[in-house]
Symmetry: C2
Subunit: 328 residues, 2 copies
């Protein structure tokens, strides 16, 4: 098969579409003929040598895909050759074929294009695990998501709105904020002009009950300021750096929580596992997609051989939603 | 009535046992004839002017007491004049009488001395709310509590042991560690000589699932290092300062949580309230005391007129367990 390889780390151009050994499904795994994959920030970091795949994972980038099951490994009984699926991967999506544990497979939501489905597993699993399973966002609460125009952001806005929460977003342009508003966000903060702490406090007099953050260090102190009593800050990205001062004196009187979590490093099975998250997403999020409450937002779809351009596009901060890579 | 007053902030000697207006129980409150109260770190801070009582609370120190109900406010139906009780207070325990919402009353555990019961409400409510209700410590997990010889420490060791957790402690002397060991702790770290991060990692190869911390800034980075995957750090005191660098890059791969919480600032009713915590303690912790799995550990009992000496004693770091102040 062909796959994107990284003969060296660096700029987008280092990626090569090259012949690779065909993967073989082991026990409990399936082989997927990949139809499409999608770009994540982690792919850009991996390409630069800043984010090594977890132990045992392939070096081929790509954390999600859609496709058709081509072969079943031993012990797989719930799926069949020919099933149309999408999947949460620990790597290997930028390829014609990939193997994945059957516990990380999802059906294609009714009525959804198979290529578009490649844009769903990462955002759906990240948002559901952090915002709902862990932080337990519920109706009536105020949810703040930074980078409202990102793949995560556009999905999180819709899921939180479907749950009955009020959604606040930050984004860097009026255009992005408009798009966030169309998806359900009502508290709109252009971070180039306005202070999100003041905005969420003004909205309800208390602050945000749950914050989903991709900025890490750069926003840590202001995120703590923006938390409501019993509020929870969940850091899933560190685009603004890794280390920052935490003022426990601000956190303590309001019983604030700071949590950081990466989906890719989770175990396959057991507590907090990918298997648990995928099962919950299939059961709880897929119906929201089937009935139209949550739509996959795709900014662009490019052929996999244009992966470099796709990376530059994501890096430009001009996208709204996901960038999909077409393999077939 | 008489009560401890703070005509000025400063050294223990500023405290005065002086005539004060008798408190009157409002709706949903009871008046208690105080038999004993107990000393908390927060009292020492309040005496120094470093910890103001929450809005609406009395200026008289004292976060817990035991005694006898002297009068019922309107609408109190579950308690009677003459009932022997202990209570979680937002202040006012260093006095002959105190008023408290009836939702913050606890019965006296069977067979327990009424004076000793004054040592229970703060430690029981703090440990249960943070370690069990929030962090959900369970059998088989590794629990680390700093200051194992403190009132909180001696109680937390016993509760965690009763739940089936393995308990690690830090303390500053071999004597204190021996006492912690008698109460159930099996991983014993003298913080003057040994590194608790290495100790918990060596114990199970993963680290601590739940850490209860009173040191704040001084231990933040090492506490993060000591966390197991999905581990939770709960900061309830800031004896080692308020601000410290948090390395999100360490927290993220293991999905770590940093939480800080103060009991005194919690709302009386509703979510995360004192009422909820007190009800849970009555239901879950009191049976552990009645059957001897958890014993109140009292280092010394002094007359309330020796409050200054009691404060110096707690401040000496030589105590194991609580210091009780006898009012009657």
């Amino acid at each position: 098969m062909h796959a994107i390889t990284l003969p060296e780390f660096g700029e987008p151009e280092v990626m090569r579409w090259a012949e690779q050994q065909d993967p073989q499904p082991g026990r409990g795994q399936v082989l997927i003929d990949v139809v499409a994959t999608a770009v994540n920030r982690a792919d850009l970091l991996q390409r630069q040598g800043l984010y090594a795949p977890p132990p045992g994972a392939t070096e081929i980038p790509g954390l999600e895909c859609s496709g058709v099951i081509a072969e079943l490994g031993e012990g797989v009984t719930d799926w069949h050759v020919g099933d149309r699926v999408c999947a949460l991967l620990s790597g290997g999506g930028y390829a014609e074929q990939v193997v994945v544990p059957d516990t990380q497979l999802l059906t294609i939501p009714e009525g959804l294009d198979l290529h578009v489905a490649a844009a769903l597993p990462e955002v759906a699993c990240t948002v559901w695990s952090n915002v709902v399973m862990d932080a337990k966002l519920r109706a009536g609460q105020l949810f703040l998501v930074h980078g409202g125009g990102s793949g995560i952001g556009t999905h999180a806005i819709q899921v939180a709105t479907a749950l009955g929460a009020t959604v606040a977003v930050t984004a860097g342009s009026a255009y992005k904020l408009e798009r966030c508003n169309e998806l359900g966000a009502t508290v709109l903060v252009n971070y180039r002009e306005d202070d999100f702490v003041a905005a969420v406090r003004e909205h309800n007099g208390r602050g945000a009950d749950v914050i989903l953050d991709n900025m890490g260090a750069a926003y840590l102190d202001r995120n703590v300021d923006a938390l409501a009593p019993d509020g929870q800050l969940i850091v899933i990205g560190m685009q603004g750096g890794v280390k920052a001062e935490l003022n426990l004196g601000k956190l303590l009187p309001k019983r604030g929580t700071v949590r950081a979590a990466a989906l890719r490093a989770r175990p396959e099975r057991g507590r907090s596992s990918k298997a648990d998250i995928v099962a919950a997403v299939q059961e709880q999020v897929w119906p929201m997609i089937a009935d139209g409450r949550v739509r996959p937002i795709v900014h662009a779809e490019l052929p996999i051989t244009d992966a470099a351009q796709a990376h530059r596009l994501l890096d430009s901060d001009e996208t709204v939603g996901k960038v999909v890579l077409r393999v077939r």
